[in-house]
C-alpha cells in the first residue's frame, strides 16, 4: 500500500514549536519567519532541553552570538546611513571592521550565511531606503540627495535607485504621491 500525504510544513512547524515551548513552560510569542519572542528567563537546563528536543525535528536554534552580531552589523550600517548628515568617506569594510572590531571577512561571512543578502546589498538597500525618504520629504534636490548619501553623481544614484526599485526617482515620487492622493 502506498499512502499519499499532503502537509503544510509551516503549520506543522508551528505546532511542534508550540508543543515543545509549552512543555517547558516558556512564555513565548511565535513571530513570522522563524522568530520567537520569549518573555521569561529560561534556565540553561531548560534551554538545552529545548534545543535537544527541537533538533529531533530538524529545527535548530541559531547561535545566539551570531544573531547578535548580525543585529550589530545591521545596526551599525543603519546608524551610519541615518545618523550622519553626510556619509563618511571611508570604505564600508573599513568602517565596519573599525566599529565592530572584527575582520571584514568574518563579518561578511556571518552576514551572508544568516541572511539572504550580502552586506553590500544590504547597504545599497538601506541607502536607497534613505533616498526614498529624502525624495518624499521633497526638501532636497536629487543632486543634494546623492551628495548626502555619498554617491559620486546623480546618475549613479538614479541608476542604483533603478536597480533596486525598477523605477526612476521621479516615477517613484509620482507613484507615491498618487497613492497618497488615492487614500485621502
Amino acid at each position: 500500500m502506498r499512502l499519499y500525504i499532503k502537509y503544510d510544513g509551516i503549520v506543522a512547524c508551528r505546532v511542534i514549536l508550540q508543543e515543545q515551548l509549552e512543555r517547558l513552560n516558556i512564555k513565548h510569542k511565535l513571530l513570522e519567519l522563524g522568530e520567537i519572542e520569549i518573555s521569561n528567563t529560561v534556565s540553561d537546563v531548560d534551554f538545552a532541553e529545548l534545543q535537544a528536543s527541537l533538533n529531533r525535528y530538524a529545527i535548530y536554534i541559531v547561535n545566539n552570538e551570531k544573531s547578535q552580531l548580525i543585529q550589530r552589523i545591521k545596526d551599525t550600517i543603519v546608524e551610519m546611513i541615518y545618523e550622519n548628515d553626510k556619509l563618511p568617506a571611508v570604505t564600508i569594510s573599513q568602517y565596519l571592521s573599525d566599529k565592530l572590531n572584527l575582520s571584514y571577512g568574518y563579518i561578511t561571512n556571518v552576514f551572508t550565511e544568516n541572511t539572504y543578502s550580502s552586506i553590500e546589498n544590504f547597504i545599497i538597500i538601506q541607502k536607497i531606503e534613505r533616498a526614498k525618504k529624502l525624495i518624499l520629504e521633497d526638501q532636497l534636490t536629487l543632486t543634494e540627495v546623492s551628495y548626502k548619501l555619498n554617491y559620486s553623481s546623480v546618475a549613479y544614484l538614479s541608476s542604483q535607485f533603478k536597480k533596486v526599485t525598477g523605477l526612476t526617482p521621479s516615477a517613484f515620487k509620482r507613484i507615491v504621491d498618487k497613492r497618497r492622493n488615492l487614500s485621502n
Binding site: V154, A155, S158, S159, K162, T168, S170
Partner: protein
Amino acid sequence: MKLKKLYKNTQIFKIALGIAIVVVGYIASVFYTQMRGLDSSVDLITNSTETQLELEKILSTISMYESNLRGYIITKDESYIKNRFLRRGEIDQNILKIKELVASNPNRVKDIERLNKLIDHRFDLFRETLLLSKSKYFDSVIFNKKLQESNSFTESMKTFVYKTINAEGDKIKVHNVNHQFELEDSIISAFLLVILTLLILLLSFNKTNVDVVELKKANDEMKFLNLSFTNAEKIAGFGHWKINIETGLYTFSDNFYRLLGEEPNAFEPKLENLNKYIHRDDLENVIQSHKDSLISYEPTSLTFRFVLTNGEIKYIKSVGSFTQNSKGEMIKTGVNHDITEQYVKTLKLEESNTELKSINEELESFNNIVSHDLQEPLHKIQMFISRIGDNDKETISEQGKTYLSKIGISANKMQALLIDLVNYSRTIKGDKVFEEVNLNDIVNVVIDDLSSSIDDKKAVIEVGSLPTIKGISFQIDQLFVNLITNSLKYSKDTIAPQINIYIEDIGIDEFYNDKLILDSDYHKIVIRDNGIGFKQEYADKIFMLFQRLETSPKYSGTGLGLAICKKIVDNHHGYITVQSEPNIGTTFYVFMPKEI
C-alpha cells in the same frame, strides 16, 4: 476744432442761448428806459416852449394895453379904451396854462404867482393912470410920475418875464443836450439790440440747420442700417421679434416671416399664430419656456424645429432677453437663428466622430492584441524553447538544435517587432503629458537600461551637458533608446562603438525643409557615432516606416525604430535630420523647441 465741438454741443448751445436772451432782455429794458427818458425830455422841451409862448403872450397883451392907454392919453379917443380894455380874461387864461405847464416845478410856480401879483399891480397902475387921465383935475406932475412908475414897472416886469423865459430857454438847452445824449445812447442800445438779436438769430438758424443736416444724416444712416440689418437677417438666416410685456403686443421682423416660409407680415404677429409652425414635439416646451420667462424675466435659449407649410423642417435656435424701453416698459427681444445647416453638419460631425471613436477603439484593441494577446503565445513559444534547451540538450540532434535556435531567433524578432509596434502606436495615441524633462537624467537612465548591450559591444558613450526641455517623458526616453540602440546595432566589428551625445549652437543658416531654424527657438541635440554609416542619399528613407537599409541578418531590425523617433520628434514640434557617410559614421540632429 474745439470751438466747433463746443458748437456742436447742444447743452453748451442752450446755455449760450440763455445768456444771449438775458443780455438781449437787459439791453431791451435799458433801451425802454432810455426811450421813456427821451419821451419825458421831449415833454419838457414842449412844456418850456409853451411856457415861453404864454409868457410872451402876457407881455404882448400888457404891451398892447400900454400902447392903447398911451393912444387914449394922447388922443383922448375913447375907442382906444373901449373894446375890452384892461380885461384880464386872456391873461388869466395864459397864467392858468402856464401854471399847468409848470405845475411840476415849484420854483416856477412861485415865479408865476409873483408874476401874477406883478400883473395885478400893473393893472392897478393901468387903472390909476387911466383914472388920472380921465380926471378933471389933471395933474400932469402926478400923471407923469404915474406914467414913469408904470413904465419902469413894465420894464421890471418885462425883465422878470424875460428872466423866466430865459430860464426856460436855458432849461430847454440843457434838455436839448441831455436829449441829444439820450438819443445817442438809445441809438447805440438799439443797434446793439439789433446786432445781438441778429447774431442769436443767425446762430440759432445755423445750429438748427446743422442739427437738421445731422438729423437727416443720422436718419439716412438709420435707414441704411435698417436696410443692412434686414439684409443681414436675410443672409444670416436670422429673424428677430419682440414683445412689449405691458401691452402684450408682438413685433416680428420681415425675415422672421421668411424663416417660416412666409411673406413678410403674412399674418398678425401673435404667439398663437406661430403654433402651427412649431414642431409638435417642441411646441409645448417652447411656449411654456417663453411664457415662464415673461413672468421671471429670465433670458431664454431654446432650440426647436419649425415645420414650414411645404413640410420643410428648419432647426431654430431662439434666444431672448429682457430690456426696458424709454417708457420704462419691459420688452423681451429675441433672435431666431436658422441653424439647420450647422445642425445637419453637427449631426454629420457627430456621426464621423463616433466612427472615429470606434476606429480609435479598434486601434486601441488592436494595440492590446499586439501588446498582450499576441505576446502571450509568443512568450509561451520562447519559454518552451528555453525549456527544451535546458532539459533536452543532450537528446536533441545537432540539426534539431540549429532549428531550435532559428525558432528562437524568429521568436525574438517577432517580439522586437511587437514591442516596436506598440511603441509606434503609443506615439500616435493621446495621453501626451508635457512636463519638464531633464535630458541628462533621461539619457543616464537609458544608458543604464541598455548597459548589457553597451557592455557587450564594449561601447563608449560620452554625454555632454544637456538641457531640460518640455516633453513627454516616456517618448523622450524612447527616442534616446532607439537612437542609441541604432548606433550600437550598426556599429563596426573592427572598432568599439563610440557614441557622443551633446548639444550644439545652431548656425545662422540652418534649414529644415526651407524653414529657417533659429538658435533662439530650438535646442540642437547631436547623437554622433562611428558606425558603418550609409549613403547620404538615403537620409530621408531611414525615417520611413518599415524602411531598412541593411538587409543582412547580422543587422536585425524592425524598420520601426527611426520612424518612431521621427514621430516622437514630430509630437514635440521638433525636427530630426541625419548626416551619414559609409564607413565613417552617422550623426543624428534633433531640434527640440525651447518653448512650447
